[in-house]
């Protein structure tokens, strides 16, 4: 009898919960139905099953933890790797009218941090950085509140097989146990076989339900254009933008380029353009983002600082003026196009001189042997009290000329592996590790390059990299399958609207605060 009744008893409340989930979907999020595999993911989570979900960018990942937050009791804790991403995600909840959401990261001052920790019980969502969650004071506070869902966003950061590796992610499994092993949801957009394996292994998700969707975005076409040099690339870019539909994003390698291209495009085409990079004031970045989201810009020239968490559905074209160092990163960036389901275009401009950039970027992730030796000796002699002096250590190493990633690498190696071992051995370990990782990244880079020079179908090639086969080829697949810039011509260019900005302060103030100035009664 028991065996027969059990599923019944279990099923009924779950069905009720799914009915409730539908209701929340309509009322809170304003959607009429689930997309992709969202229903299955939410259903599994409500059944208290761990989930590993891979959905392409724009596939509606966030909803998978947002929605259960309104049904399960307790705090939804979201580990997120990037400050800007965290704020964007928190903002997208605030836009739904949610005010029980906070972020916890190194940007908060100690008082603010204390305040957030003291109000954990009143919160529904907490976004937290992997460094912050490791701090004893923070994890002690978290241990005291019921956690309904432990979300690991951008879970590919746990794997060293990629340029976004974040060592702090490796401690998440252990932290999750300390928090009473709440249900875990690991999310990522793109992960190849190695990365998938790492996610399962390091997060202990062996028995989790897996929902792994294809990375293919059939409505985005791929075109690669070869150029002689930067000048030629700029000319081709201008010519391209003069023909295809807006709005568009141009990815380039650095701040100077983003500013230069923005200037060139606006001068030569008269388009409304702006640039966006990590060196700008946060308020300026936010203004540019708002302008882009509200359709006041035709083209945005940016570094890879722009994009994570950006949700603009009608981006028609993504151009890479410089290419990233992995296929993973490329697909992430390209995936921001055409989320509305319409046609999207991805163009990569390539010139031989570009091939130097990604290698330099990879090398900047690691310390040089001499810096490594110096730093390890200093750590060994107790010059720094860890983890208290971590930031000071990182500053010192940066002044010596290494990047922040390189400094964090040394720190992580020392903390996890030193415990009484001679520092010379540790040095050898590190050198070996660097060689290994570097060779993996060089392989990723080689893969990216071979995709650029691919003679066959680009979609097939890209999918095979992620261990997938192409099932149906879209009409406008890629340049190798016959797609041309001419297939994406715009019909709207003659009606270019360049007079949008209201300059007159009186009219602006009127529109903003919607009050007529009342003349005093005579």
């Amino acid at each position: 009898m028991d065996a027969l009744q059990k599923p019944e008893n279990r099923n009924r409340p779950i069905d009720q919960e799914m009915a409730k989930a539908e209701e929340v979907l309509h009322k809170v999020f304003g959607y009429s139905e689930f997309r992709n595999r969202q229903r299955e993911v939410v259903n599994a989570l409500l059944k208290h099953q761990d989930v590993f979900a891979m959905m392409p960018t724009g596939g509606g990942k966030s909803l998978c933890y947002q929605l259960p937050g309104y049904i399960l009791n307790g705090l939804v804790l979201i580990v997120s790797p990037l400050l800007s991403l965290m704020e964007d995600q928190a903002d997208s909840l605030r836009r739904l009218g949610e005010n029980k959401v906070r972020t916890l990261n190194s940007m908060l001052n100690p008082e603010e941090r204390k305040r957030v920790l003291s109000q954990l019980r009143q919160l529904r969502f907490l976004f937290i950085s992997p460094e912050m969650i490791r701090q004893p004071r923070v994890s002690r506070a978290l241990e005291k509140v019921p956690i309904s869902l432990f979300v690991v966003d951008e879970a590919h950061c746990i794997s060293q097989w990629g340029h976004e590796f974040r060592p702090d992610y490796l401690h998440l499994a252990e932290i999750r146990i300390r928090l009473g092993s709440p249900v875990c949801l690991a999310l990522t957009a793109t992960a190849d076989q190695r990365v998938k394996k790492d996610i399962v292994r390091y997060l202990h998700l062996e028995s989790a339900q897996q929902f792994l969707m294809s990375v293919d975005r059939p409505n985005i076409s791929f075109i690669v254009l070869e150029a002689k040099n930067s000048e030629d690339k700029t000319n081709q870019l201008i010519e391209l933008l003069g023909k295809v539909e807006f709005p568009g994003i141009i990815y380039c390698s650095g701040r100077e380029w983003s500013e230069k291209l923005s200037k060139d495009i606006s001068k030569r085409l008269g388009f409304r353009t702006a640039f966006y990079h990590g060196g700008m004031e946060p308020e300026d970045r936010r203004k540019i983002q708002n302008q882009f989201l509200s359709g006041e810009l035709d083209i945005l020239c940016c570094t890879n600082a722009f994009g994570m968490g950006i949700n603009k559905a009608d981006i028609r074209v993504v151009v890479h003026f410089h290419y990233p160092s992995t296929m993973n990163a490329y697909l992430q960036e390209v995936g921001r196009a055409a989320r509305d389901g319409g046609q999207g275009l991805a163009v990569l401009l390539h010139s031989p001189a570009d091939d130097r950039l990604p290698e330099a970027f990879i090398d900047s992730n690691y310390p040089s042997p001499s810096i490594l030796k110096f730093a390890l000796n200093q750590l060994d002699q107790g010059e720094y009290q860890l983890p208290k002096d971590s930031e000071r250590f990182i500053d010192v190493i940066r002044i010596m000329g290494a990047g922040e990633t390189a400094a964090r690498f040394i720190l992580e190696q020392f903390i996890t592996k030193s415990s009484g071992r001679p520092v010379a051995l540790l040095y050898d370990d590190c050198i070996r590790l660097i060689e290994n990782r570097r060779s993996v990244q060089m392989k990723d880079l080689a893969r990216m390059r071979s995709w650029i020079s691919e003679k066959g179908c680009r979609r097939v090639s890209c999918l095979s990299y992620f261990g997938e086969k192409l099932e149906t080829k879209p009409d406008l697949c890629c340049d190798r399958c016959g797609a041309k810039i001419g297939d994406f011509l715009s019909h709207q260019h003659s009606a270019l609207n360049n007079s949008g900005i209201e300059v007159d302060w009186k009219k602006r103030l009127d529109r903003l605060l919607a009050c007529e100035k009342v003349e005093p009664d005579s």
Binding site: E87, D91, R94, R95, L96, G97, M107, L108, N109, E112, A274, G279, M280, E281, P282, E283, D284, R286, K287, I288, Q289, N290, Q291, L293, S294, E296, I501, E502, V503, D504, W505, K506, R508, L509, R511, L512, L513, A514, C515, K517
Partner: protein, 354 residues
């Protein structure tokens, strides 16, 4: 685009090779060092203090390279970080001065420490009210800084007025303030404001929107903010809404200097001060300079005998410099560096007062 050259040439002409380019950049960025504050007084460029707090060092460096390339400025012998105008630079500056000047309102620097926060709060406040009165609850706030969002939240929630009335009050106050400003300043200020269906511009973008040099738009924007703050803090009763967005005015002194000030008023000697405060001589000296610059009528006679003071001033006038070393040399070490700094600071303050 010529305003930027006017700015750079004017600065270099005022400083005349007595400070490095970095020293000039610190003034424009508004460093809180005693050196930067003192230099402003020395070289009569207080209005420009903190006018480019948001500008990257690299932009100013390439601006000076630009001027160097045009042959308007040249490096001083033996110090490639110090510049002076060349004859063609002097010519160019006098031509540029016919067309350009710095806006009057820049001189209101008395609230300089709060101008950045006040402006961020005002922008977030206008945006939030604008969205709310249009029935929109979902928007990306222009600022994320914890202190700013907290203050605006308190401002809106803590007000008993309805949102619509609060927005109207803010509108009225802003309108009457902007009406008294030069139109371009008012336009540049409002172009930066965001709200419902109307994202704000960055200061750089306002430059191209009203077709002026971006450096000029920075200066206009600052001038407008300073006039706003100046008027509101002088007659808060006329602008009750904006006055609530201002931080409580604290003494402009650093906390540590303030403690030292209290002890000086109790009559402690220099030696006793270092003992009591457990601070180095250098730090106490910095405090005394800061007090001299910021407290009107601060009495320095116990640190600097009048005879020494006069000797220093005479020497500085004769040598036509504000650099410490040559003065010390000429006085054959009869005065310490600290005494020379103090004398120059006092003199600068007094000249300002006249």
């Amino acid at each position: 685009m010529s305003f930027r050259y006017y700015l750079m040439l004017k600065l270099i002409s005022q400083i005349n090779g007595e400070r490095t380019l970095s020293g000039i950049i610190h003034i424009l960025q508004g460093r809180q060092s005693v050196q930067a504050i003192q230099d402003c007084a020395f070289f009569h460029i207080q209005p420009l203090y903190h006018t480019f707090d948001m500008l990257e060092r690299g932009h100013l460096l390439s601006l000076s390279d630009d001027c160097l390339g045009k042959g308007w400025i040249s490096q001083l012998n033996g110090d490639h970080e110090k510049y002076a105008l060349t004859p063609s630079g002097i010519d160019t500056l006098s031509q540029l001065a016919d067309r350009h000047s710095f806006p009057q309102d820049l001189k209101y620097t008395e609230n300089v420490r709060m101008e950045t926060d006040f402006w961020l709060k005002l922008q977030l406040c206008v945006q939030t009210l604008s969205e709310l009165i249009h029935g929109s609850h979902s928007f990306l706030p222009v600022s994320h800084r914890a202190g700013i969002t907290e203050a605006v939240r308190r401002f809106i929630i803590g007000s008993r007025a309805r949102r619509k009335d609060l927005a109207c009050a803010l509108y009225e106050e802003l309108y009457s303030l902007l009406e008294t400003m030069p139109v371009t300043e008012a336009d540049i200020l409002c172009l930066q404001l965001s709200g419902y269906g109307m994202p704000g511009l960055t200061v750089d973008q306002t430059g191209s929107a009203v077709k002026i040099d971006t450096y000029q738009s920075h200066v206009f924007s600052k001038a407008a903010i300073r006039r706003l703050l100046h008027t509101v803090s002088n007659i808060p009763s006329d602008f009750p809404t904006l006055a609530r967005l201002m931080s409580k005015k604290r003494n402009d002194l650093s906390r540590s200097a303030e403690e030292t000030y209290h002890l000086i008023k109790e009559g402690l000697t220099f030696e006793k001060l270092t003992e009591q405060r457990q601070l180095s001589h250098g730090t106490i000296e910095d405090h005394i300079i800061e007090l001299t610059l910021k407290i009107p009528g601060f009495n320095i006679s116990s640190f600097l005998p009048d005879s020494v003071n006069q000797m220093i001033i005479k020497s500085a006038t004769r040598l036509h410099t504000k650099q410490l070393k040559p003065i010390k040399k000429e006085l054959r070490d009869q005065a310490s560096y600290f005494q020379i700094r103090l004398a120059l600071a006092k003199e600068a303050v007094e000249r300002e007062g006249n």
